[in-house]
Amino acid sequence: MRQSRAIDVSTGLFVLLGLVAIVFLVTQISNREFSLTETSFRLKAQYENIGGLKVGAPVKMAGVTIGRVEDISYDMKLLKAIVTMRIDKRYNEIPNDSDASIFTAGLLGGQYIGVSPGGSEEYFKDGDQFQFVQDAIVLENLISKYLFSQADKAAADKNSSAGASATAEPAPAPKE
């Protein structure tokens, strides 16, 4: 009987440890958070383009994570993306003329919102909206912009040197 008591205790410990591990994985590793809702406030921002920003992405100020993206939606009237952020209550003194830009962590990393503080004496309150924002830099746009500018330049060079007409036929493309 004493032996089976020992078995019960260690079995109980094992199961408990397993459940704690599951709870740990669910709450600490994945982006299901329970604690933030009580001690946080919401801020909104409108963007033309949010790039690859996802729900759960961090909101950072001077590199420190101060909150998370809670919701992303598209406003049919404004034709803009509305991003809702939850900011930790500890950071409740953010100047209300701060701007919120979408950045990319590393070359291929996930995107996040970086807040750079303004100089206002007044602070954001729950439900406020950022007035100054900067859209995500989409790599494809950047590349095509660069390519077109190169193409234009090439075409301009050609025109000036040979005097050939710039027809509908596309220039022999960028030679990079």
Binding site: S4, I7, D8, S10, T11, L13, F14, V15, L17, G18, L19, V20, A21, I22, F24, L25, V26, Q28, I29, S30, N31, R32, E33, K54, G56, A57, P58, V64, T65, R68, A105, G106, L107, L108, G109, G110, Y112
Partner: protein
């Protein structure tokens, strides 16, 4: 020609084996609900399969995590995004490495113990003795051990992954100096609850497979010392291969 004949014979053996195991599995499934009428027996087997595997799982988990920390950091440093270490490690561990390594360790530790225990009971007539006493060994011996294994595996997977992530953190944050908060928040921002679920589902599936193979091999072992030895070897080999094949199938279904 001889090779071909051997191949055909091998194929036939494999099919016969698979058929016998399916019937055995069906039988176990049918009587499964009745197993919970006697929780005492299952608790003992959760102890055998789970609690006794804890040390090996935790040690292995810690080192797997630490190795991932070293390798992951080396890899990510080359493309300049060390802070993604948490995401990479957590996803790899949750979705693949955790369930698979845990299943392999489980087959080696708990599976062989189950197979040799039941095989020995067969070899020493204990199973026959039960039959004569009008006690069905499938219900009394096989079922609780199967259920104990099935219950233990997902818990072991969770423990393994949690400890591994701690190991990754140990190397990434404590040793390489990745920012603690960034490590965790990056991880949290990319790991979805579905990833945790995938890991636990895999743990469950592998638990069913490995436990079933162990009790089947033990129950059908030749009643000799040699037969018991062969049963434990087969348990490890078949469990390992099944785990990897099932891993592909489950991944393909869940993705």
């Amino acid at each position: 020609m001889a090779l071909l004949r051997e191949l055909v014979a091998g194929m036939r053996d494999f099919l016969a084996n698979a058929g016998a195991m399916s019937r055995f599995f069906a039988r176990v499934l049918v009587i499964s609900p009745s197993g919970f009428l006697r929780p005492r027996l299952i608790v003992d087997q959760v102890y055998n399969a789970g609690a006794l595997s804890l040390a090996i799982i935790m040690t292995s988990g810690l080192f797997v995590g630490m190795v991932m920390g070293l390798q992951g950091h080396d890899l990510l440093a080359r493309i300049g995004s060390e802070e993604s270490l948490g995401i990479g490690a957590a996803l790899t561990l949750l979705k693949e490495l955790g369930p698979v390594v845990t299943a392999l360790l489980f087959a080696g530790r708990a599976g062989t113990a189950l197979a040799s225990e039941i095989g020995l009971m067969r070899a020493t007539d204990q199973l026959s003795a039960m039959e004569i006493m009008a006690v069905d060994p499938m219900r009394r011996v096989v079922l609780p051990r199967f259920l104990g294994g099935v219950i233990s595996m997902p818990l072991l997977v969770a423990i393994f992954v949690a400890i591994s992530i701690y190991g990754v953190q140990l190397i990434g944050v404590q040793y390489f100096g990745i920012d603690q908060g960034q490590f965790w928040s990056e991880m949290r921002s990319s790991v979805e609850i579905e990833d945790v679920r995938e890991g636990l589902i895999k743990g469950f599936v592998f638990g069913v497979a490995c436990s079933l193979i162990a009790v089947y091999e033990g129950y059908n072992a030749d009643p000799t010392a040699e037969g018991v030895g062969r049963a434990t070897t087969r348990t490890v080999v078949i469990s390992a291969v099944s785990t990897l094949v099932l891993d592909y199938i489950v991944t393909a279904i869940l993705l």
